[in-house]
Symmetry: C2
Subunit: 178 residues, 2 copies
């Protein structure tokens, strides 16, 4: 399942996905964000098999996203917590949830979860923000450029925008318009 090539990519998207591992890793992160921390609760929450759960917990721990902590001595029992690195990936969960809500892929006709501002109680949605004006930006107005860490492959990849699907066309459906 793991490809060496994947881990060698110069790409932050690949780096995050590699650290998470796969969609089971993502589901464990979802459960941690929802408040779960114990092995049996992860099992119950997702129906994941023991083999898959053990493997993905080890993967997340090896990649520094979670840590294992003993919460009971006799018999020994452990819980799993997000590390600082894991907490930086955690905000991805509401983003994924809201994208899925709009696509109606939850398996139900209404959002299973909602995110609110705990200070105001108001609903919270994610959006792109222009860092100069502070205004929200429609995904259709985004443009991807090479960054300071681009290598030849990144430059080559981005050089196709005029002939292929451009970023503006690709993300015409605004994340924050529904």
């Amino acid at each position: 399942m793991r490809s060496k090539g994947f881990d060698g990519m110069v790409c932050s998207i690949a780096g995050v996905m590699s650290a998470i591992g796969d969609r089971w890793g993502m589901i464990i992160l979802r459960d941690l964000v929802c408040g779960l921390s114990r092995y049996e609760d992860f099992r119950k929450s997702s129906g994941v098999t023991n083999a898959t759960l053990s493997d993905r917990l080890k993967h997340l721990e090896a990649n520094g996203l979670i840590e294992r902590r003993r919460y009971q001595a006799n018999p020994e029992r452990f819980e799993y917590l997000l590390t600082q690195k894991g907490r930086q990936i955690a905000p991805l969960m509401p983003v994924l949830a809201q994208i899925g809500d709009r696509l109606n892929v939850s398996g139900t006709s209404a959002p299973p979860m909602k995110v609110v501002n705990r200070k105001t109680g108001a609903e919270v949605r994610w959006s792109f923000i222009d860092q100069k004006t502070g205004e929200q930006v429609s995904p259709s107005d985004l443009k991807i450029l090479e960054g300071p860490g681009a290598n030849d492959l990144v430059r080559w990849r981005l050089s196709h925008r005029d002939t292929g699907t451009t970023m503006p066309k690709a993300i015409m459906a605004a994340s924050n318009s529904g």
Copy 2:
């Protein structure tokens, strides 16, 4: 690799991840967003094997995220384009990229790509927005509640927040503070 249990989850996060398939599916979506559309270009861009690429393209097509279109008749040649559903998932790419940039998981010390507002040229970052005040919300102020589509399992999952890792604690590291 595919588990039946996964697809039956009442969860928008699981739904999106299921549609994408795995991290190779995500990398193909990244390449489409960057402007690639042809099989050989996907191969070159990521170093993915033929077997994996063919499988993931079929998966993305079966899940309605991409469509195959003939661009040359003799010999027949096809390109792959994002569907409307795929375009709604596309904004996830800059989000993932920016999370990865902050975690420095790109394999380089600087961001390989940057996202700008094509109208102003200013850098664009994603953020959470309070839907009543229009103000940005720190991830540490977010709270996950059950939505109208919650079932018993979702309610049970969210009932652990007082004993386990709460959402506010879980995402203390703001997505938009760095």
